[in-house]
């Protein structure tokens, strides 16, 4: 690591806990240790803190009632609960609609359900990451138990038109679950009046703590819990509550709601400056996803003819943290399923780097990346068999290795 201040541009992976969030949590790890289910004086203030957090999250999501919020251990639990609940509540419906670019929390669960005999309609995306609407409409029927789609993609930030999709689901009375992990804290979410039945969020993506998430369940919804046991969360999620985490989530939601108004424009400007600066300085680089429809903090740029992990290792040397969907960082041999779904050519997909900003990102952070990254790409391209070092461009005759 270099001496300079570290630059953290991996906020879609996780975020720094806000100081007021930590301060709100600490008393519930020390003096307020009562069980919120207890009847005595130790439990009462803790139960009250949970209800306050529930209201904070309700406000944040624009839900009609605070009781529509169920706290979970993370968004993965929330999404799993939502999908499995729908299947159990509607046992005669054996089909699921989802997309090919979902987060593993949805993707892997649906693959498992497919193995168990459910029919999964995997809706694809075009090369900009836009959902094939016709395929979605064709998959809709009374046989479908649940639709689960992400609002914003974690790798590219591209948005799906969730409100419209949820409306269409109503025609067939299909439950609609939305994975809103990557929009929460980045854009306003107004649930009341929307067609969304269930929605998952995660605390640590908007400056809250890890290990806590929430599931929105529209009032009147047919629901079956995943965890059974005590009567916590009105019997919808058994298990003693992660009180400090929930209090932190509530505080983070309150702060994020204010920040969306105050910081979004600035974050978007920083992101655009970074992106345009990179495209101008690095030839053969492209923005992946849908630049017109995406969350304001995310930019995914593919640097052709070089590999993502190498870029990240070198960036790390300069104290800069970003991420890549590259095969080699994940331990698999295939490039990211999102890049594959968008048909990004392999020479670019492996070099896709995600920069995700937060309200703590500064002008200096962006300057630093613009200063060091172009040099890193040139260095790696000099080593690349796809690159003609003498001409400074891709080889005329494309490199064709054996076994390709």
């Amino acid at each position: 690591m270099s001496e300079a201040k570290p630059v953290y541009l991996d906020n879609n992976a996780t975020t720094q806990v806000a100081v007021p969030v930590l301060e709100a949590m600490l008393p519930f790890i020390s003096e307020y240790y009562g069980n919120p289910s207890s009847i005595h004086g130790f439990g009462a203030p803790v139960a009250a803190a949970l209800e306050k957090a529930r209201e904070q999250v309700q406000q944040f999501l624009g839900a009609e009632h605070s009781t529509e919020i169920v706290f979970t251990s993370c968004a993965t639990e929330a999404s799993n609960t939502a999908i499995l609940s729908a299947l159990e509540a509607y046992p005669d419906r054996k089909e699921i609609i989802t997309s090919t670019v979902e987060h593993p929390a949805t993707l892997d669960l649906c693959k498992q359900l497919e193995r168990k005999g459910y029919t999964v309609h995997w809706i694809g995306v075009n090369n900009k990451g836009r959902l094939y609407m016709l395929a979605f409409q064709e998959a809709l029927s009374e046989r479908v138990a649940v639709i689960s789609l992400m609002w914003a993609n974690n790798e590219t930030g591209s948005l799906f038109p969730i409100r419209g999709l949820a409306e269409q689901a109503k025609e067939y009375d299909v439950l609609f679950h939305c994975d809103a992990v990557q929009v929460a804290g980045k854009m306003p979410i107004q649930l009341s009046g929307s067609g969304i039945d269930m929605l998952s969020i995660s605390g640590h993506k908007f400056h809250g703590p890890k290990g806590v998430g929430a599931l929105y369940l529209r009032r009147g919804l047919k629901y079956r819990p995943l965890f059974r046991g005590g009567h916590q969360e009105r019997g919808r999620r058994a298990g003693t509550e992660n009180v400090a985490g929930i209090v932190g989530l509530g505080k983070a939601a309150e702060l994020a709601q204010q920040a969306i108004e105050q910081d979004t424009a600035r974050i978007r400007l920083l992101r655009d400056r970074l992106e345009m600066g990179l495209l101008a300085r690095v030839p053969f680089s492209v923005v992946t996803g849908n630049p017109q429809q995406r969350v304001p903090n995310t930019s995914n740029v593919a640097f052709e003819y070089v590999e993502g992990e190498s870029i990240l290792l070198m960036l790390n040397q300069y104290g800069i943290a970003a991420s890549s969907g590259s095969a080699c960082t994940s331990g698999s041999l295939e490039p990211s399923h999102v890049m594959k779904a968008m048909d990004v050519p392999y020479t670019a997909a492996h070099g896709a780097i995600r920069f995700s900003l937060s309200r703590y990102t500064t002008d200096e952070d962006i300057d630093r990346v613009l200063e060091v990254l172009p040099e890193i790409i040139s260095r790696l391209r000099l080593m690349s068999p796809y690159w003609d070092a003498a001409k400074g461009e891709p080889k005329e005759q494309q490199f064709q290795p054996q076994y390709a």
Partner: protein
């Protein structure tokens, strides 16, 4: 982030010979852009003594791919082609003080590039035996292609079989569910494929087998197991058959391997199946027989 050794980091950040050799007379281009790895190795070989005088690489790949390429060039410069051919991918990994299991394929790519370059120099055709799938067992670096191959060759049907035959899942057990998925895929495929007629003659349990027939059946069973053992650098040899006792010798890497008990169990399974009776397989030293070991015992 990967836990790379200092040596890997050093070779990544300051790679050696990271440029094509001018006036190269051997080139090995290997890898697959789909998997995110590609390597072009160029050599200058002195034709009078077949010594590698210069080596250079260009690599598209992750940190360990670049480090493996760099290490490879350092290891082969100054060696003759025959000496260089003796290098294994493990040698490259060892040179770098080890690679994470998910990254061992980077060292394999280095070795393949070397073989391709030498074949190019000698004007030989290179056999393409390259196939790489999803890594299933991280402890023993076994992928789904390998598991499928062994399952199909041996008609395996349970998780335990797969563990015995491939070692996959034999240590930390976290990949057992994935193995079961691969297995069920194979079973579905073989259900679709027309029924394969067993090559082995049916054994009539009432008709005692002649010793010659027994030996032939056991040899056939061992022949089927042999490729897996050889893949690990080992082998097996039949020494003697006495009633329900079968004496074999594990050779090469199999002798003294910590998993030899699993290998023996696998052999016992296969041999019992072909003979139509439960037998016990005993490991013996090379050349010894049942009679000899009886004498030793007495």
């Amino acid at each position: 982030m990967w836990n790379y050794s200092e040596k890997v980091r050093e070779h990544f950040f300051s790679p050696r010979n990271a440029k094509p050799v001018e006036q190269a007379n051997a080139t090995g281009d290997v890898g697959s852009i789909a998997c995110g790895d590609a390597l072009s190795l160029t050599l200058k070989v002195n034709p009078s003594n077949e010594t590698i005088e210069e080596a250079g690489f260009q690599t598209f790949g992750c940190g360990s791919a670049i480090a493996s390429s760099s290490a490879l060039t350092e290891m082969i410069i100054g060696r003759t082609l025959d000496e260089a051919l003796k290098l294994t991918n493990q040698d490259i990994a060892d040179y770098l003080d080890g690679l994470p299991p998910e990254k061992m394929h980077c060292s394999v790519m280095g070795m393949e590039a070397l073989h391709a370059a030498i074949a190019d120099y000698r004007g030989e055709e290179l056999e393409d035996d390259h196939e790489e799938g999803e890594l299933i067992c991280k402890c023993f670096a076994i992928d789904d292609v390998m598991i499928k191959k062994v399952v199909q060759q041996n008609g395996l049907s349970s998780l335990e079989d797969v563990i015995h035959y491939t070692k996959a899942g034999g240590a930390c057990a976290t990949c057992h569910e994935k193995i079961e998925w691969v297995l069920s895929e194979c079973l579905q495929e073989s259900a679709k494929a027309p029924e394969l007629v067993s090559e082995l003659p049916a054994v009539d349990p009432d008709q005692p087998l002649s010793i010659v027939a027994k030996v032939r059946l056991v040899e056939q069973a061992l022949e089927k197991i042999r490729p897996q053992l050889q893949a690990d650098g080992g082998d097996v040899q039949l020494n003697d058959i006495d009633d329900d006792m079968v004496f074999v010798t594990l050779t090469g890497a199999c002798s003294g391997c910590g998993f030899s008990h699993a290998t023996l169990a696998m052999i016992e399974d296969a041999v019992s199946k072909v003979l139509g009776q439960a037998v016990t397989v005993y490991p013996t030293a090379l050349g010894s027989s049942a009679a000899a070991s009886e004498q030793e015992a007495s």
